[in-house]
Every structure is written in C-alpha cells, then in structure tokens.
Assembly symmetry: C2
Homo-oligomer: 315 residues x 2
C-alpha cells in the first residue's frame, strides 16, 4: 500500500485511460468500506452506493451524458468550444463499472445532530465519503472519473432511486493504463492551477487579485513561501514538480501532433523564458521525455521529436 500523501497527489479524475479489466470483489468492498468510514453529520451516514455493471444501464447513461455535453457546448463561445471539443467528459463505456453515490436526507431524522442550522450538512457528508472512495481506489491503483454531465432526475429514474433520495455522483471506476500527473483540463488548456498561497487568508477575508483563469503554466513560476511535501510541492503548493509539469505539457504537444515527428522542440532558452523556469528544470523535463523515448538529441545538439511518439496516442 502506498503512503498517504502519494495517494493524495497521484489521484486523478480519469476519462480516457480505463482498460475495462475486472475489479476483484474484495477490492471494491475495501473501497466502499473506506467511503463508509467517512465522517457524517450526527453520524447520520446518509450515503448509499449503487454498483452499476449492467451494460444496458451504462449505455443509457452514456447516451444521456452525450446529450448534456451538447447542451453545455452550445453555451460556449467559439474559442472555448474548440478547446472543449478536445476534452473527454466521461469513461462510462470504457470503465469496468460505475458507482452511484446517493444522499438520503431521512437517514437519522428527525433530529440529525449538527444539521439543524446547515441544511446542506448531510450533502457535505456524502461528498466526504466520495473523496474517501476516490482516494481508496487510487491507493488500489485504480482510476476514478466523476461524471458531471447529467441531470439528477434522469439518473434517479434510470436506477429507480426513490423520491427524496438524491444522486450526488456518478463515478466510473476500474483499472487504467496510467494516471496523468497533470489533470486533463490543465493539459488541454481549459484552466490552470491557482497557487495555494492565493487561497490562504489569516483571521479574516482579504481581497485577492487572482480570480481569472490562470495561464497554463503560471503556477510553475518560482517557489512560493509554502514549501510542503518533499518532492511533491516545490511550486507554491503545487503537488507536481515544475520539470514534470513541463514534461507533461510538452508530451501533450507531441502526442497531439502539434509538434511534429522529427521536428525540433522549442529551444531550451525559449522554454525557460516562456514557462518562467530554471534552466535545470527545462533540462530535467527534456530528460524525462528522452527517457520515455519521445525525443532524441540530434547531431546539431537540438532536441527532436522521435518517431516513437506515434505509438503513444493522444492525451
């Protein structure tokens, strides 16, 4: 079993990397047991877990997700729509199974200790269980993808969930080829990471400037005052070291075909400048890609994209 912080930082929201291989029953129950070990308001334990393996049910849900995807796409301007078109929003068909987590407000009623002043406290408890589930799956070396493109009433109807009980999450679960180090939405340029230091206040609220989407790599600019977990948080609370983040971005540009086979990578100098990194980080990023066989150093000293890149596929 991995150590705690490794699980925290290696957890990802998985879409495309599911293999569909089997999950052992005892592994699934360990994961659900971790979810059930979550705290809940008044010890109400208001969650249920619907394990969905049935192909027909999953297919119906996947079709619904596709329609909701189109609803969202229609709200975007052209540039965002183009970015969104490259983003996969679910792995319902490819994953091994789904787990739907629900909230039952009647559990422990009428007097749920601690819920009288905060109506949503029971809903919060369900989310804590979901995060336990997600982390446990990661500890078991599985992937989880939370699908958000659905209407609650559709899911309730599909699964026969009684009125008053609310579906909170549809989670796809199963073995994966790998987990990315950088979230899909960041690699695809949808949204960047906010530095942790911008989100911490002392004793009361202070106004902040960082409310705009960050540019893709702004988070790699220098280490903030907050160090953190060794080897994980070199960059102001960012769990992924700068050179691995740069490697991920370059890998994405290579596998997407943006940088073509046998073309040179941007120079070390321009990578350093564009991403605000130390020369050492740039060299280490290139080394990572070289170790993976994605790039090679030519006779002229430049770094080129290797034809092996073809085999690695997209995103």
């Amino acid at each position: 079993m991995p150590e705690f912080y490794d699980v925290i930082f290696e957890r990802r929201d998985v879409r495309a990397e599911f293999t569909g291989e089997a999950v052992a029953e005892e592994v699934l129950m360990r994961i659900l047991g971790a979810a059930h070990a979550a705290p809940s308001v008044g010890l109400s334990q208001p969650w249920d877990f619907v394990v969905v393996r049935d192909q027909g049910v999953r297919e119906a849900f996947a079709e619904h997700v596709l329609r909701e995807r189109e609803v969202f796409a229609a709200t975007l301007d052209a540039e965002r729509a183009a970015t969104f078109a490259t983003i996969k929003v679910d792995g319902v068909r490819e994953s091994t199974l789904s787990v739907v987590v629900t909230y039952d407000p009647g559990r422990g009623a009428p007097a749920v200790l601690g819920r009288h002043s905060i109506a949503d406290a029971g809903l919060y408890s369900v989310c804590l269980a979901i995060q336990n589930l997600w982390l446990a799956a990661t500890a078991e070396d599985l992937g989880v993808g939370w699908v958000s493109f659905y209407r609650e009433e559709f899911v309730a109807g599909l699964l026969g969930i009684p009125e008053g009980i609310r579906p909170v999450a549809w989670l796809c679960l199963g073995p994966v080829t790998h987990r990315h180090r950088v979230p899909d939405l960041e690699r695809k340029g949808w949204r960047g990471r906010v530095p942790l230091t911008d989100l911490v206040h002392e004793d009361g609220w202070r106004e902040q400037n960082v409310r705009q989407p960050s540019s893709l790599l702004r988070h790699t600019r220098g280490a903030g005052p907050y160090g953190g977990h060794p080897g994980h948080m070199a960059d102001s609370g960012d769990p992924v070291p700068a050179h691995l983040r740069l490697a991920d971005v370059l890998r994405e540009r290579i596998t997407s075909g943006e940088i073509q086979l046998d073309s040179p990578l941007p120079s070390e100098e321009s990578l350093r400048r564009d991403h605000g990194l130390d020369p050492d980080d740039v060299r280490r990023a290139v080394q990572v890609l070289s170790d993976e066989g994605l790039v090679y150093t030519g006779r002229d000293g430049n770094v080129y994209v290797s034809s092996r890149a073809e085999e690695t596929g997209g995103g």
Copy 2:
C-alpha cells in the same frame, strides 16, 4: 508517514482531546496543500482557507456555537436531550487554531465545465478538499473537529467574507492527546454504525430495512460477506475489530462512572450474549482494558474496575 488505509480508519471528528499545542507552519501548509490537491468541477478550485488564530474571533464563534447548541437541544424529547447533554459539540477554545473553508461560485465562471447541469457541483468540490484536509491532518497525527452548530451568515459576518462566498466548514485543528477508535456519537449512544452491506445496491435501487438508528453494538454481530482491509474490517465493513469496539464501550461505561470502581464488569457470558460476540473477542476486549490498567482480575476470578480508572477522566 502512515499508510493510506490507516489514515482513513484512524481519522476521527475530535472535540475534547485537543491540547492547544502549536502546529508548525510547514505542517499546516502541507495539510492545506493536500486540500488544494482535491478534484474540482471544471478544475474551478472554488475553495479558500481562512486560518483563524485570533482569540477574540474564536471566542465570539464559540459563544455563537453555544447558543445554537441550545436551539437544537430545545427541539429534542427528554430522552434524546439527556443523551445530547453529555455530548461535546466543539473544541473551538481548546484547539490550536481553526480553518474555515469557503465556496466561491464565481471561481472559473461563467462556464464551469460540468456544473451546468448540477448547481451544487462546486459545493461538492469544496467538500472533497475538506476531506483531503482532514485526512492529511490525521496523517500528520493531528485532530480535526468539524463544527456544525453555526449559522452561515454569522460566520460570514465574523470573518468579513464577501457576499456570494459561502462558508462551508469551520474546522478546529491541532495536536490531540489521542483519537478514539469509535466516534463520540457512537460511544455516547447517540447513533450506531450502519453495516456497509445494507448500503450497497446492485444495478438499481432495492428497498432496505435498515433505516432506524441501530442499537449501539448491532454492528458487532458477525462478519458480513464483505471482508476488507485486514485487521480493520472484520465486521461487515466496520473498520474497527469487534474486541476493540467492545473495549471502547466498556471503557466509556467505566470512565463515565456507570460501572463503579472496584465493581465487577458484566460476566464474560453476559457480554458475549449482549453484544453477539465470540468468547474470544470478549476475552481480548478485557485484556485491552487490563493492559490499560482499567480493570484487574480478583481472587474470585471476576474482573473488577481498577481505581486507576479515576485518573482517565470522561469520554
């Protein structure tokens, strides 16, 4: 650092066990870094963390909690009110500091990917961050208590949180003397643990019988079909082995004065029968208490409560 599942099962909602000792800044930032590593809908990262050390602010909040406690107590019937009177609902004064976690719906707006169909998805993200925070604090051997006896508008006013940004949790944090193995509310008889097997459905909802509060020890009755993490989940998904749960219940009865000094414990036979346990589990539970100096075996072969019990204090 502990292993992942140890953290999951050793996490507790702490009230009375805070020592007030200092928390190193780098430890706090590791914990907040773990929170910030949580998944969020559309990578919106809609959380902020207000670290509250100021004594005046904490005192004002503690007073507010006391008033809300009275509001809840007034809703209970006599029997529940008597049970509730023994339950501590916060450790605001005793803990080292507080962390208030907030939700900013404007983060990443207007188009938060995945939030168009589920209005609460951003709120869910904040809860996932809270669970990461809670688990990380546990991994750092600290305690966390989520205080739910407050009105959101009071906290917003107290901390100067701008309109539209919502306080989701007030968390007390700091070193603790120890963490109980069984939640306060279970030890105090407020509510029991629901067997995991009652909460798992296959492919669709099935009606269930277990919607009533469980009796205190019903969860110790026999192992269900779902094994789980070795050493943690002997009892149908329950993370704590039966003998440790029985030891916790007996410890509570001893330290609360219900079983008096130099009085005998209930017989092994009656403990076995009342709690539906194997004789071996009962013997192991008594051994745990004996190792702690809480009980001793008399010349007549009966087990008595040792006068050392006086020193251990309540719950």
